[in-house]
Protein backbone atom coordinates (compact mmCIF):
# COMPACT_ATOMS: atom_id res chain seq x y z
CA UNK A 1 0.00 0.00 0.00
CA UNK A 2 1.45 3.32 -1.05
CA UNK A 3 2.13 5.66 1.81
CA UNK A 4 3.55 9.17 2.12
CA UNK A 5 4.28 10.59 5.56
CA UNK A 6 4.50 14.34 5.66
CA UNK A 7 6.52 15.82 8.48
CA UNK A 8 7.62 19.29 9.34
CA UNK A 9 11.35 19.45 9.94
CA UNK A 10 13.27 22.74 10.29
CA UNK A 11 10.57 24.76 8.52
CA UNK A 12 10.62 22.33 5.60
CA UNK A 13 8.10 19.67 4.72
CA UNK A 14 9.65 16.24 4.48
CA UNK A 15 7.77 13.75 2.30
CA UNK A 16 8.68 10.22 3.28
CA UNK A 17 7.76 7.81 0.52
CA UNK A 18 7.27 4.14 1.20
CA UNK A 19 6.21 1.28 -0.96
CA UNK A 20 4.18 2.34 -3.99
CA UNK A 21 4.09 3.18 -7.65
CA UNK A 22 4.45 6.59 -9.17
CA UNK A 23 0.74 6.77 -10.05
CA UNK A 24 -0.27 6.00 -6.47
CA UNK A 25 2.09 8.60 -5.09
CA UNK A 26 0.88 11.18 -7.57
CA UNK A 27 -2.76 10.49 -6.68
CA UNK A 28 -1.99 10.67 -2.94
CA UNK A 29 -0.06 13.90 -3.23
CA UNK A 30 -2.67 15.52 -5.42
CA UNK A 31 -5.36 14.62 -2.90
CA UNK A 32 -3.35 16.12 -0.05
CA UNK A 33 -2.50 19.27 -1.98
CA UNK A 34 -6.10 19.88 -3.06
CA UNK A 35 -7.34 19.52 0.53
CA UNK A 36 -4.95 22.07 1.94
CA UNK A 37 -3.53 24.31 -0.72
CA UNK A 38 -2.55 27.07 1.72
CA UNK A 39 -0.32 24.78 3.76
CA UNK A 40 1.69 23.54 0.85
CA UNK A 41 2.00 26.70 -1.20
CA UNK A 42 5.44 28.28 -0.83
CA UNK A 43 6.77 25.56 1.49
CA UNK A 44 10.21 24.06 0.98
CA UNK A 45 9.88 20.34 0.32
CA UNK A 46 12.35 17.51 0.75
CA UNK A 47 11.82 14.03 -0.68
CA UNK A 48 12.94 11.08 1.42
CA UNK A 49 12.23 7.43 2.02
CA UNK A 50 12.90 4.00 0.68
CA UNK A 51 10.00 4.21 -1.75
CA UNK A 52 12.03 6.60 -3.89
CA UNK A 53 14.60 3.95 -4.67
CA UNK A 54 12.04 1.96 -6.56
CA UNK A 55 11.29 4.90 -8.82
CA UNK A 56 13.18 5.98 -11.90
CA UNK A 57 14.61 9.46 -12.30
CA UNK A 58 11.74 10.39 -14.60
CA UNK A 59 9.14 9.27 -12.06
CA UNK A 60 10.76 11.30 -9.30
CA UNK A 61 10.98 14.25 -11.62
CA UNK A 62 7.25 13.92 -12.36
CA UNK A 63 6.41 13.97 -8.64
CA UNK A 64 8.66 16.98 -8.12
CA UNK A 65 6.96 18.75 -10.98
CA UNK A 66 3.60 18.11 -9.33
CA UNK A 67 4.87 19.78 -6.18
CA UNK A 68 6.16 22.72 -8.15
CA UNK A 69 2.78 23.08 -9.83
CA UNK A 70 1.23 23.57 -6.42
CA UNK A 71 3.70 26.34 -5.61
CA UNK A 72 6.13 24.43 -3.47
CA UNK A 73 9.90 24.85 -3.49
CA UNK A 74 11.98 21.74 -4.06
CA UNK A 75 14.87 21.57 -1.64
CA UNK A 76 16.80 18.46 -2.45
CA UNK A 77 17.53 18.71 -6.12
CA UNK A 78 19.91 15.80 -5.75
CA UNK A 79 17.47 13.15 -4.71
CA UNK A 80 19.07 10.12 -3.16
CA UNK A 81 17.47 7.94 -5.79
CA UNK A 82 19.55 5.55 -7.66
CA UNK A 83 18.21 4.34 -10.91
CA UNK A 84 17.94 0.62 -10.41
CA UNK A 85 17.64 -0.61 -13.91
CA UNK A 86 17.72 -4.24 -14.74
CA UNK A 87 20.90 -5.03 -16.64
CA UNK A 88 20.51 -4.91 -20.38
CA UNK A 89 22.40 -6.53 -23.22
CA UNK A 90 26.08 -7.29 -22.74
CA UNK A 91 28.36 -5.55 -25.18
CA UNK A 92 31.22 -7.34 -26.93
CA UNK A 93 33.93 -5.20 -28.50
CA UNK A 94 36.54 -6.70 -30.80
CA UNK A 95 38.94 -3.78 -31.09
CA UNK A 96 41.22 -1.54 -29.12
CA UNK A 97 39.81 1.63 -27.63
CA UNK A 98 42.07 4.60 -28.10
CA UNK A 99 42.41 7.87 -26.22
CA UNK A 100 39.22 9.92 -26.36
CA UNK A 101 36.98 7.06 -27.41
CA UNK A 102 34.24 6.03 -25.02
CA UNK A 103 31.77 3.20 -24.89
CA UNK A 104 28.81 2.40 -22.72
CA UNK A 105 27.04 -0.87 -22.09
CA UNK A 106 23.66 -1.36 -20.45
CA UNK A 107 24.89 -4.74 -19.29
CA UNK A 108 28.43 -6.00 -18.95
CA UNK A 109 31.20 -4.93 -21.30
CA UNK A 110 33.67 -7.41 -22.71
CA UNK A 111 36.57 -5.99 -24.72
CA UNK A 112 38.86 -8.17 -26.79
CA UNK A 113 41.63 -5.60 -27.05
CA UNK A 114 43.19 -2.84 -25.04
CA UNK A 115 41.69 0.24 -23.45
CA UNK A 116 44.27 2.95 -23.90
CA UNK A 117 45.09 5.80 -21.57
CA UNK A 118 42.22 8.34 -21.34
CA UNK A 119 39.71 6.15 -23.13
CA UNK A 120 36.53 5.54 -21.12
CA UNK A 121 34.31 2.53 -20.69
CA UNK A 122 31.16 2.47 -18.59
CA UNK A 123 28.90 -0.48 -17.95
CA UNK A 124 25.84 -1.16 -15.86
CA UNK A 125 27.52 -4.35 -14.70
CA UNK A 126 31.03 -5.76 -15.08
CA UNK A 127 33.86 -4.51 -17.26
CA UNK A 128 36.09 -7.25 -18.62
CA UNK A 129 39.13 -6.31 -20.66
CA UNK A 130 40.99 -9.13 -22.36
CA UNK A 131 44.04 -6.96 -22.86
CA UNK A 132 45.55 -3.98 -21.18
CA UNK A 133 43.34 -1.54 -19.29
CA UNK A 134 45.03 1.84 -19.00
CA UNK A 135 42.04 4.12 -19.40
CA UNK A 136 39.11 4.79 -17.09
CA UNK A 137 36.71 1.94 -16.39
CA UNK A 138 33.42 2.45 -14.58
CA UNK A 139 31.61 -0.74 -13.64
CA UNK A 140 28.15 -0.64 -12.13
CA UNK A 141 27.68 2.91 -13.37
CA UNK A 142 24.04 2.91 -12.15
CA UNK A 143 25.15 2.09 -8.66
CA UNK A 144 25.56 -1.67 -8.59
CA UNK A 145 28.55 -2.00 -6.27
CA UNK A 146 28.67 -5.76 -6.72
CA UNK A 147 30.07 -5.19 -10.21
CA UNK A 148 33.70 -6.06 -10.89
CA UNK A 149 36.42 -4.93 -13.26
CA UNK A 150 38.72 -7.54 -14.71
CA UNK A 151 41.70 -7.12 -17.03
CA UNK A 152 44.59 -9.27 -18.16
CA UNK A 153 46.76 -6.25 -17.46
CA UNK A 154 45.02 -3.96 -15.01
CA UNK A 155 46.99 -0.71 -14.99
CA UNK A 156 44.38 2.05 -15.13
CA UNK A 157 44.79 5.61 -13.93
CA UNK A 158 41.45 5.37 -12.18
CA UNK A 159 38.86 2.73 -11.36
CA UNK A 160 35.21 3.39 -10.60
CA UNK A 161 32.72 0.88 -9.30
CA UNK A 162 29.27 2.17 -8.44
CA UNK A 163 29.81 5.49 -6.67
CA UNK A 164 33.31 4.60 -5.52
CA UNK A 165 36.47 5.89 -7.11
CA UNK A 166 40.03 4.77 -6.63
CA UNK A 167 43.22 6.16 -8.07
CA UNK A 168 46.32 4.33 -9.21
CA UNK A 169 49.18 4.40 -6.74
CA UNK A 170 51.50 5.69 -9.41
CA UNK A 171 53.73 2.67 -9.35
CA UNK A 172 54.33 1.06 -12.66
CA UNK A 173 53.98 -2.69 -12.47
CA UNK A 174 56.37 -4.36 -14.85
CA UNK A 175 55.07 -7.91 -14.87
CA UNK A 176 51.35 -7.77 -15.52
CA UNK A 177 49.12 -10.48 -14.16
CA UNK A 178 45.37 -10.80 -14.59
CA UNK A 179 43.71 -8.78 -11.86
CA UNK A 180 40.18 -8.22 -10.64
CA UNK A 181 38.82 -5.16 -8.88
CA UNK A 182 35.79 -5.28 -6.59
CA UNK A 183 34.31 -3.29 -3.75
CA UNK A 184 34.68 -4.14 -0.11
CA UNK A 185 32.85 -1.74 2.16
CA UNK A 186 33.75 1.77 1.05
CA UNK A 187 36.89 0.70 -0.81
CA UNK A 188 37.80 -0.73 -4.15
CA UNK A 189 40.12 -3.71 -3.78
CA UNK A 190 42.35 -5.18 -6.45
CA UNK A 191 43.75 -8.66 -6.30
CA UNK A 192 45.48 -11.05 -8.58
CA UNK A 193 42.94 -13.18 -10.34
CA UNK A 194 43.19 -16.89 -9.68
CA UNK A 195 40.47 -19.03 -11.16
Amino acid sequence: MAKIDIKGVNKSLVFVFSNGSVEEYAALLKNRFENNQQLFKGSPVIFQGTGLEQLSHDDVAALQRLCLDYGMIMHNVHTPVRELKTAGEDLFIYRTLRSGQNLHSEGSMIIWGDVHESAEVTAAKDVIVLGKLEGIAHAGCYGDVSSTIFALDLSPKQLRIGDKISRASGEYIKNPVPCIAYTEGANICIKEYRP
Partner: protein
Amino acid sequence: MEKKTPDSHVIVVTSGKGGVGKTTAVANLATGLAKLGYSVVVMDLDIGLKKLDLILGLENRVIYDIVQVADGECTLKQALVKDKRFPALYMLPAAQTRNKDDITTEQVKTICEELKQDFDFIFVDCPAGIEQGFRNSIAAANKAIVVTNPEVSAVRDADRIIGMLESCDFKDIKLLINRLRPEMVRSGDMLSIEDLMEHLCIDLLGVVPEDRNVVISTNRGEPIILDEHSSASKAFNNIVQRLLGNDVELMTLEEDSFWRKLKRNLGFKN
Protein backbone atom coordinates in the same frame (compact mmCIF):
# COMPACT_ATOMS: atom_id res chain seq x y z
CA MET B 1 54.65 17.84 -64.27
CA GLU B 2 55.11 14.29 -65.51
CA LYS B 3 53.69 11.50 -63.43
CA LYS B 4 55.88 8.48 -62.84
CA THR B 5 53.20 6.19 -61.48
CA PRO B 6 49.58 5.76 -62.55
CA ASP B 7 48.21 6.02 -59.03
CA SER B 8 48.48 9.00 -56.76
CA HIS B 9 49.17 8.75 -53.07
CA VAL B 10 47.41 11.34 -50.98
CA ILE B 11 49.21 11.34 -47.65
CA VAL B 12 48.07 13.39 -44.68
CA VAL B 13 50.72 14.15 -42.09
CA THR B 14 49.10 14.73 -38.74
CA SER B 15 49.78 14.50 -35.01
CA GLY B 16 47.15 16.13 -32.83
CA LYS B 17 49.75 17.92 -30.77
CA GLY B 18 51.55 20.91 -32.21
CA GLY B 19 55.28 21.28 -32.57
CA VAL B 20 56.14 17.63 -33.07
CA GLY B 21 57.50 18.16 -36.58
CA LYS B 22 54.60 17.66 -38.99
CA THR B 23 55.62 20.45 -41.33
CA THR B 24 59.29 19.49 -41.16
CA ALA B 25 58.36 15.92 -42.05
CA VAL B 26 56.20 17.07 -44.96
CA ALA B 27 58.92 19.35 -46.34
CA ASN B 28 61.61 16.71 -46.09
CA LEU B 29 59.68 13.73 -47.40
CA ALA B 30 58.35 15.77 -50.32
CA THR B 31 61.82 17.08 -51.13
CA GLY B 32 63.24 13.56 -50.88
CA LEU B 33 60.67 12.17 -53.30
CA ALA B 34 61.07 15.10 -55.70
CA LYS B 35 64.83 14.54 -55.67
CA LEU B 36 64.17 11.04 -56.99
CA GLY B 37 62.12 12.48 -59.82
CA TYR B 38 58.59 11.86 -58.55
CA SER B 39 56.18 14.69 -59.07
CA VAL B 40 55.15 15.88 -55.65
CA VAL B 41 52.87 18.58 -54.34
CA VAL B 42 52.62 19.71 -50.75
CA MET B 43 49.35 21.19 -49.62
CA ASP B 44 49.46 23.46 -46.58
CA LEU B 45 46.14 23.28 -44.77
CA ASP B 46 47.34 25.06 -41.66
CA ILE B 47 45.36 28.08 -42.76
CA GLY B 48 46.10 31.13 -40.64
CA LEU B 49 49.31 29.65 -39.24
CA LYS B 50 51.28 28.68 -42.31
CA LYS B 51 54.84 27.49 -41.97
CA LEU B 52 55.49 25.16 -44.86
CA ASP B 53 56.54 27.98 -47.21
CA LEU B 54 59.19 29.04 -44.70
CA ILE B 55 60.61 25.58 -44.21
CA LEU B 56 60.82 25.07 -47.96
CA GLY B 57 62.24 28.58 -48.37
CA LEU B 58 59.51 29.62 -50.79
CA GLU B 59 57.88 32.41 -48.81
CA ASN B 60 58.71 35.13 -51.31
CA ARG B 61 57.23 33.25 -54.26
CA VAL B 62 53.73 32.88 -52.86
CA ILE B 63 51.15 34.82 -54.87
CA TYR B 64 47.83 33.04 -54.49
CA ASP B 65 46.68 30.65 -51.78
CA ILE B 66 44.42 27.65 -51.33
CA VAL B 67 41.43 29.68 -50.09
CA GLN B 68 41.53 31.77 -53.25
CA VAL B 69 41.63 28.57 -55.30
CA ALA B 70 38.64 27.23 -53.38
CA ASP B 71 36.74 30.50 -53.89
CA GLY B 72 37.57 30.53 -57.59
CA GLU B 73 39.59 33.73 -57.44
CA CYS B 74 42.45 32.04 -59.26
CA THR B 75 43.15 28.72 -60.93
CA LEU B 76 44.92 25.89 -59.18
CA LYS B 77 47.85 26.15 -61.61
CA GLN B 78 48.28 29.83 -60.77
CA ALA B 79 48.41 29.14 -57.06
CA LEU B 80 50.96 26.31 -57.22
CA VAL B 81 54.44 27.50 -56.29
CA LYS B 82 57.32 25.72 -57.97
CA ASP B 83 60.23 24.73 -55.76
CA LYS B 84 63.49 26.53 -56.40
CA ARG B 85 65.58 23.36 -56.25
CA PHE B 86 63.51 20.59 -57.77
CA PRO B 87 61.24 21.14 -60.75
CA ALA B 88 59.10 18.18 -59.74
CA LEU B 89 58.12 19.74 -56.40
CA TYR B 90 55.23 22.15 -56.01
CA MET B 91 53.59 23.78 -53.04
CA LEU B 92 50.02 24.90 -52.59
CA PRO B 93 50.28 27.61 -49.95
CA ALA B 94 47.85 28.27 -47.12
CA ALA B 95 46.27 31.66 -46.57
CA GLN B 96 47.71 33.47 -43.60
CA THR B 97 44.94 36.04 -43.24
CA ARG B 98 42.06 33.57 -43.18
CA ASN B 99 41.10 30.75 -40.84
CA LYS B 100 40.33 27.06 -40.96
CA ASP B 101 36.60 27.49 -41.51
CA ASP B 102 37.13 29.41 -44.75
CA ILE B 103 37.46 26.18 -46.67
CA THR B 104 35.24 23.09 -46.69
CA THR B 105 36.03 19.41 -46.92
CA GLU B 106 34.28 19.31 -50.30
CA GLN B 107 36.54 22.06 -51.66
CA VAL B 108 39.64 20.23 -50.42
CA LYS B 109 38.44 17.05 -52.11
CA THR B 110 37.86 18.88 -55.39
CA ILE B 111 41.33 20.44 -55.30
CA CYS B 112 42.87 17.07 -54.49
CA GLU B 113 41.12 15.36 -57.39
CA GLU B 114 42.52 17.97 -59.72
CA LEU B 115 46.02 17.56 -58.28
CA LYS B 116 45.88 13.78 -58.67
CA GLN B 117 46.01 14.15 -62.44
CA ASP B 118 49.49 15.62 -62.31
CA PHE B 119 51.18 14.35 -59.18
CA ASP B 120 52.43 11.03 -57.86
CA PHE B 121 52.46 12.17 -54.27
CA ILE B 122 50.21 14.72 -52.61
CA PHE B 123 51.22 15.60 -49.06
CA VAL B 124 48.72 17.33 -46.82
CA ASP B 125 50.23 19.30 -43.97
CA CYS B 126 47.59 19.04 -41.25
CA PRO B 127 47.26 21.67 -38.53
CA ALA B 128 47.45 20.71 -34.87
CA GLY B 129 44.12 19.97 -33.23
CA ILE B 130 41.08 17.87 -34.07
CA GLU B 131 38.74 20.55 -35.39
CA GLN B 132 37.79 21.72 -38.87
CA GLY B 133 41.42 21.94 -40.01
CA PHE B 134 41.94 18.29 -39.17
CA ARG B 135 38.71 17.25 -40.87
CA ASN B 136 39.68 19.17 -44.00
CA SER B 137 43.11 17.57 -44.02
CA ILE B 138 41.91 13.99 -43.82
CA ALA B 139 38.99 14.46 -46.20
CA ALA B 140 40.85 13.64 -49.38
CA ALA B 141 43.68 11.51 -48.04
CA ASN B 142 44.02 7.77 -48.50
CA LYS B 143 47.10 7.37 -46.30
CA ALA B 144 48.10 8.90 -43.03
CA ILE B 145 51.40 9.48 -41.30
CA VAL B 146 51.08 10.18 -37.60
CA VAL B 147 54.06 12.11 -36.27
CA THR B 148 54.84 11.84 -32.60
CA ASN B 149 57.64 12.64 -30.17
CA PRO B 150 58.79 10.22 -27.50
CA GLU B 151 56.93 11.98 -24.71
CA VAL B 152 53.64 11.17 -23.02
CA SER B 153 51.74 14.27 -24.12
CA ALA B 154 52.51 13.70 -27.79
CA VAL B 155 51.72 10.00 -27.47
CA ARG B 156 48.31 10.64 -25.94
CA ASP B 157 47.42 13.02 -28.77
CA ALA B 158 48.75 10.58 -31.36
CA ASP B 159 46.58 7.86 -29.83
CA ARG B 160 43.54 10.12 -30.08
CA ILE B 161 44.34 10.97 -33.69
CA ILE B 162 44.83 7.32 -34.63
CA GLY B 163 41.46 6.54 -33.08
CA MET B 164 39.82 9.29 -35.11
CA LEU B 165 41.54 8.16 -38.31
CA GLU B 166 40.42 4.59 -37.68
CA SER B 167 36.85 5.70 -37.20
CA CYS B 168 37.13 7.54 -40.54
CA ASP B 169 38.07 4.18 -42.12
CA PHE B 170 41.73 4.86 -42.71
CA LYS B 171 43.48 1.59 -43.45
CA ASP B 172 47.01 2.83 -44.04
CA ILE B 173 48.18 4.61 -40.90
CA LYS B 174 51.89 4.75 -40.19
CA LEU B 175 53.86 6.14 -37.29
CA LEU B 176 56.80 8.50 -37.57
CA ILE B 177 58.74 9.00 -34.35
CA ASN B 178 60.50 12.33 -34.41
CA ARG B 179 63.18 13.87 -32.18
CA LEU B 180 64.29 10.68 -30.48
CA ARG B 181 67.36 11.03 -28.29
CA PRO B 182 69.08 7.66 -28.02
CA GLU B 183 71.19 8.65 -25.06
CA MET B 184 68.10 9.64 -23.09
CA VAL B 185 66.34 6.42 -24.00
CA ARG B 186 69.35 4.47 -22.83
CA SER B 187 69.39 6.24 -19.48
CA GLY B 188 65.66 5.57 -19.10
CA ASP B 189 64.62 9.21 -19.30
CA MET B 190 62.73 8.96 -22.58
CA LEU B 191 60.17 6.58 -23.99
CA SER B 192 61.80 4.01 -26.25
CA ILE B 193 60.66 2.99 -29.71
CA GLU B 194 59.38 -0.25 -28.18
CA ASP B 195 57.32 1.65 -25.59
CA LEU B 196 55.72 3.76 -28.30
CA MET B 197 55.00 0.82 -30.57
CA GLU B 198 53.52 -1.17 -27.72
CA HIS B 199 51.21 1.66 -26.80
CA LEU B 200 50.12 2.86 -30.21
CA CYS B 201 50.21 -0.51 -32.01
CA ILE B 202 50.42 0.71 -35.60
CA ASP B 203 53.11 0.17 -38.24
CA LEU B 204 56.31 2.11 -37.82
CA LEU B 205 57.34 4.20 -40.81
CA GLY B 206 60.56 5.52 -39.37
CA VAL B 207 62.45 7.15 -36.57
CA VAL B 208 64.13 10.54 -36.89
CA PRO B 209 66.70 11.33 -34.23
CA GLU B 210 66.95 14.70 -32.55
CA ASP B 211 69.33 16.77 -34.66
CA ARG B 212 70.34 20.35 -33.99
CA ASN B 213 70.93 20.86 -37.70
CA VAL B 214 67.17 20.75 -38.25
CA VAL B 215 66.79 24.13 -36.57
CA ILE B 216 69.52 25.59 -38.74
CA SER B 217 68.05 24.18 -41.93
CA THR B 218 64.56 25.38 -41.01
CA ASN B 219 65.84 28.91 -40.48
CA ARG B 220 67.58 28.79 -43.84
CA GLY B 221 64.61 27.34 -45.67
CA GLU B 222 66.64 24.35 -46.84
CA PRO B 223 65.09 20.99 -45.93
CA ILE B 224 67.50 18.94 -43.81
CA ILE B 225 67.24 15.99 -46.19
CA LEU B 226 69.54 17.90 -48.57
CA ASP B 227 72.30 17.98 -45.96
CA GLU B 228 73.54 14.46 -46.49
CA HIS B 229 75.84 14.32 -43.49
CA SER B 230 73.18 14.84 -40.86
CA SER B 231 71.56 11.91 -39.10
CA ALA B 232 68.07 13.37 -39.62
CA SER B 233 68.72 13.45 -43.35
CA LYS B 234 69.58 9.74 -43.37
CA ALA B 235 66.46 8.96 -41.42
CA PHE B 236 64.26 10.95 -43.81
CA ASN B 237 65.90 9.30 -46.83
CA ASN B 238 65.12 5.89 -45.35
CA ILE B 239 61.51 6.94 -44.83
CA VAL B 240 61.30 8.10 -48.44
CA GLN B 241 62.45 4.64 -49.53
CA ARG B 242 59.81 3.02 -47.32
CA LEU B 243 57.12 5.25 -48.81
CA LEU B 244 58.16 3.91 -52.20
CA GLY B 245 57.59 0.41 -50.90
CA ASN B 246 61.25 -0.53 -50.42
CA ASP B 247 62.27 -2.42 -47.34
CA VAL B 248 64.91 -0.44 -45.48
CA GLU B 249 66.11 -1.44 -42.06
CA LEU B 250 65.76 0.99 -39.19
CA MET B 251 69.06 2.73 -38.73
CA THR B 252 70.87 2.14 -35.50
CA LEU B 253 70.64 5.22 -33.41
CA GLU B 254 73.83 5.76 -31.52
CA GLU B 255 75.05 8.98 -30.08
CA ASP B 256 78.28 10.16 -31.63
CA SER B 257 81.15 9.33 -29.35
CA PHE B 258 84.60 10.69 -29.94
CA TRP B 259 85.87 7.34 -31.18
CA ARG B 260 83.01 6.83 -33.52
CA LYS B 261 83.49 10.25 -35.05
CA LEU B 262 87.19 9.59 -35.44
CA LYS B 263 86.57 6.21 -37.04
CA ARG B 264 84.08 7.72 -39.45
CA ASN B 265 86.39 10.55 -40.38
CA LEU B 266 89.16 8.06 -41.07
CA GLY B 267 86.85 6.22 -43.41
CA PHE B 268 85.94 3.22 -41.26
CA LYS B 269 82.41 2.01 -41.41
CA ASN B 270 80.62 1.94 -38.11
